[in-house]
């Protein structure tokens, strides 16, 4: 059925690697796993990880992908790669040779991005597979422990998952410990006697790592419950850089696969379907932002104007937010025909707010950046632990109101973790709202 053998793959892989090296790319070696469609579904459910802990949400994800795939609403991805050293990537047995060639070249781009982009500095690719493995093992023992069991484990995991993105969003920053902050405050107090901060306050500065804070400060959590929360925090830390660089990462990988394949001198019977697939991947999605399209086009523009070496520098230093802020200009946005829209509760319709023209383009760009990656996820922080061990959380309101129904549920989940009173403050329609 398939038009390829492993020898074919090895042949093209060698060429791809040679060309990649010629471009000055620097990537982790890649291990390709050749799997079938069932296994692909399984792998996708666990976000590509060869080992992950048990949770029903992965089962749900599997069913969802399976259903969509069966209904023909979605194709399976031809690329899936893990940020590890060596990088683990998957090739689906059912795919044809030209897809594999595209995939392999694409994976070189991703792996190069993982290895070089500064957002990924702390992801520890050498050990990541093992640390997920030991987390999975640990959770398995908890589930099998007759005094704990799956229901109690799920209670904590469900709750922790609800705030899994409430972790620091700027990788590479070393946060000061409580002791260090205390020392700093003392120094300031010595320099300036009028300065009298409350040193009893916990935390001294607003704390954005909610999961870690709860695991550390909750008075009633059992040891294994703390560990579970920390496991969720660890796995979030692994995914945060990917969420922060989706557009760049995909754009870069598309740029690289195109550059490499163009030098491969593929025979027509492989090259023509390749072009077709490439165009499909980077096509704009009507009414949405296709990160592959945006990233690819923006890198294309940068390479045209500033050269490939400059682009390589950009892939090292930027994340999506800065990338868009620096390089998205009016002309480019006009080409993309981007517009912003919102739901108007009065007319019960989605209505165009701004289009890319002289007066509107900056608004559209601002809204685009406001929705990129984790900017689309609300931020809450720990303000302080009040009397009676009440955890006081504040939503960092940026003009967008929270969805109350969801926020209420999340609030309940945080209570499950904190095991004492919790207050969550936000603004709804310009009025203070307290849960």
């Amino acid at each position: 059925m398939s038009d390829w053998t492993v020898e074919n793959l090895e042949f093209w892989d060698q060429k791809i690697c040679e060309i990649g090296a010629k471009f000055g790319l620097d990537w982790h070696p890649i291990d390709y796993e050749i799997i079938d469609y069932q296994e692909m579904l399984g792998t996708m459910a666990y976000i590509g990880l060869p080992t992950h802990y048990r949770h029903w949400s992965f089962g749900k994800e599997y069913e969802r992908t399976h259903l969509l795939y069966n209904m023909g609403q979605t194709g399976l991805p031809y690329e899936m790669i893990i940020n590890s050293n060596p990088s683990i990537a998957y090739l689906m047995r059912e795919n044809q040779l030209y897809i594999h060639i595209l995939t392999m070249a694409h994976c070189v781009g991703h792996s190069d991005f993982f290895k070089n982009n500064r957002m990924f500095e702390d992801t520890n690719p050498n050990n990541i597979i093992n640390s997920f493995k030991s987390a999975a093992k640990y959770i398995k023992t908890l589930i099998e422990d007759p005094s704990i069991g799956i229901d109690e484990v799920e209670e904590i995991l469900d709750a922790a998952h609800s705030i899994k993105y409430q972790v620091p969003r700027y990788p590479g920053i070393k946060y000061k410990s409580h002791q260090e902050l205390l020392l700093l405050e003392r120094i300031r107090m010595n320099q300036k006697p009028v300065y009298q901060p409350n040193l009893e306050r916990v935390p001294l500065r607003p704390e954005f790592n909610i999961l870690h804070f709860i695991a550390e400060h909750s008075k009633k959590l059992k040891e294994w419950q703390r560990n579970l929360i920390l496991i969720v925090e660890e796995s979030s830390k692994y995914f945060i850089p990917q969420a922060l660089t989706k557009i760049m990462n995909e754009g870069w990988a598309c740029t690289i696969h195109q550059k490499i394949v163009n030098e491969l001198e593929l025979p027509d019977k492989l090259h023509i379907p390749f072009i077709k697939l490439h165009n499909q991947v980077i096509r704009p999605h009507l009414g949405r932002v296709n990160p592959y399209h945006l990233g690819f086009k923006l890198f294309e523009k940068i390479i045209k104007e500033k050269g490939f070496e400059e682009a390589k520098l950009i892939r090292e230093t930027h994340n999506d937010i800065t990338f868009l802020r620096f390089y998205l200009d009016q002309e480019f946005m006009q080409d993309m025909n981007y517009f912003s829209y919102s739901f108007k509760p009065k007319s019960k319709h989605h209505t165009v707010d701004d289009i890319t023209n002289d007066e509107g383009w900056e608004n559209v760009r601002r809204e685009l950046i406001r929705n990129v990656g984790l900017n689309g996820v609300p931020t809450i922080y720990v303000n302080e632990i009040e009397k009676n061990n009440t955890l006081c959380l504040t939503h960092e309101h940026d003009g967008r109101d929270l969805d109350l129904a969801y926020a209420k549920k999340v609030y309940e989940y945080i209570k499950v973790l904190w095991k004492d009173e919790v207050r969550l403050l936000t603004f709804i329609e310009n009025e203070v709202w307290e849960f």
Binding site: E10, D13, C17, P29, I30, D31, Y32, E33, I34, Q38, E39, L41, A45, Y46, R54, H55, W56, S57, G59, K60, Y62, T65, M104, E154, I163, Y165, L286, G287, R288, V289, H293, N337, Y338, F339, Y341, S342, F343, P345, H350, T351, V352, D353, G360, E367, V372, G373, L374, N375, G376, V377, P378, R400, D401, L402, D403, L404, Y406, K409, V410, Y413
Partner: protein, 413 residues
């Protein structure tokens, strides 16, 4: 150079998590059924008709921004020329909701699983393990009936229970022994007679058999004050009760009695549909029930259930009589429930109702937790116990609660 590995694993790694997800879905079905039981479409249906139940998928809640003007999305316009303020397609905008979020499953929007079940399956889901733990033991009993069964033989007994077979067997045995011993000559003229010791009698034992037949009396006030909505609530409630009892008993008979100032035995259709005007005398239908019990459903062989639904109105001169009749019915029934349906009770079934709130029932009607009022509700309080219960239904949400109160689930007491 990269490494290629053919993955030969046959382990379906997602299977246990899928199983767990499926179990959670099943639980969600059971919960959704509670909402469905009050839906018009299934009430009054009988038999194997399939019912579609929309089950909301299991959501993973995160903090998300609400759908409002300040939460703008951005999209590519393609070749379209767009203008500020232009309305855009709803569907496309819905799809676009997920833009920029972490993973696919973070998207908002309800996922529905449509599940088709038959009424029987629905009853299974509803009643088998749904928060009614002590039900079988405590609240749900069968009338027992004594029957007699033969069991073994005895030397003593009354003539009609003589076992001819056993008696003959013993005589033949004795005869054979006699021949062997030479005391009897079979060739001779002499008869070999029965002897007192040969006689054996059947032994009988009384056996207690559970009777699995039930009759349900649905009594309802159909006077002018019972609006369509009230009747509809009564209907939902009756439906649930019927399904439940039907599920537990082999044979269920239903008697519908509607009343205004006089009672009338009617068909199911008329019971719910025909509306009349006129006053309310509760005792009329109670009398009719007692009459029917006497003629057709003897309490020794039928498990009797009585459910009365009204809006709390009764002629005050009739209260005394009604209470006495209720007491009488309580004696012969497995369970009797007096149920008041009134929109004004909405929310009053909450543990601590705010009596000052608007809409608190007026004096002429029964009043929840206001025991000094001269009405049927208050006057029935002394006879309330496990066998007699008062229920208040203000809206659809109360139906399940009321059901739980009756059959002693976790939610009651």
């Amino acid at each position: 150079m990269s490494v290629f590995r053919k993955h030969e694993s046959i382990v379906d790694r997602a299977s246990s998590d899928r199983m767990r997800h499926k179990r959670k879905i099943e639980k969600a079905i059971k919960e959704s059924i509670k909402d469905v039981v009050a839906e018009e479409s299934i009430i009054g249906q009988n038999g194997k008709k399939k019912i579609r139940i929309p089950v909301r998928g299991l959501k993973e809640y995160r903090l998300i921004y609400g759908k409002n003007e300040k939460n703008k999305s951005v999209g590519a316009g393609g070749d379209h020329t767009l203008k500020k303020g232009q309305k855009i397609g709803k569907q496309r905008a819905e799809q676009a909701q997920g833009q920029g979020k972490g993973g696919g499953s973070d998207q908002k929007g309800d996922e529905y699983y449509d599940v088709e079940v038959t009424l029987e399956e629905l009853a299974e889901y509803l009643f088998n393990d749904l928060e009614l733990p002590d039900l079988e033991k405590k609240k749900f009993r069968f009338i027992s009936e004594e029957t007699i069964k033969r069991k073994g033989y005895r030397f003593k007994g009354i003539r009609p229970r003589l076992s001819k077979k056993e008696t003959i067997k013993r005589k033949v045995r004795r005869k054979k022994k006699a021949i062997k011993a030479g005391t009897y000559d079979p060739e001779g003229e002499e008869r070999f007679p029965f002897h007192q010791d040969d006689l054996k009698y059947h032994h009988i034992k009384p056996k207690i058999k559970d009777n699995s037949a039930a009759v349900i009396f649905f009594l309802m006030d159909v006077s002018g004050s019972m609006s369509q909505e009230r009747k509809y609530l009564a209907r939902s409630f009756f439906f649930l009760l019927y399904q439940f009892l039907n599920h537990k008993y082999e044979k269920t008979e239903v008697v519908f009695v509607s009343h205004t100032t006089f009672a009338k035995r009617v068909s199911e259709k008329d019971f719910f549909q025909v509306g009349t005007s006129g006053g309310t005398i509760v005792s009329s239908c109670l009398e009719m029930e007692l009459e029917a019990v006497e003629k057709e459903f003897h309490p020794n062989s039928w498990n009797i259930y009585t459910f009365y639904c009204g809006d709390g109105e009764n002629w005050s001169s009739d209260n005394e009589k009604s209470i006495n009749l209720f007491k009488e019915i309580k004696q012969i029934s497995q369970l009797t429930a007096y149920c008041e349906i009134n929109e004004d009770y909405r929310g009053l079934t909450d543990p601590e109702p705010d009596k000052t709130a608007h809409g608190y029932p007026w004096d002429s009607f029964s009043a929840w937790k206001n025991e000094d009022k001269n009405n049927l509700w208050s006057k029935l309080t002394p006879i309330c116990d496990n066998m007699f219960k008062k229920i208040m239904i203000g809206g659809q949400d109360d139906i399940w609660v009321a059901f739980n109160t009756l059959f002693g689930g976790k939610n009651s007491e």
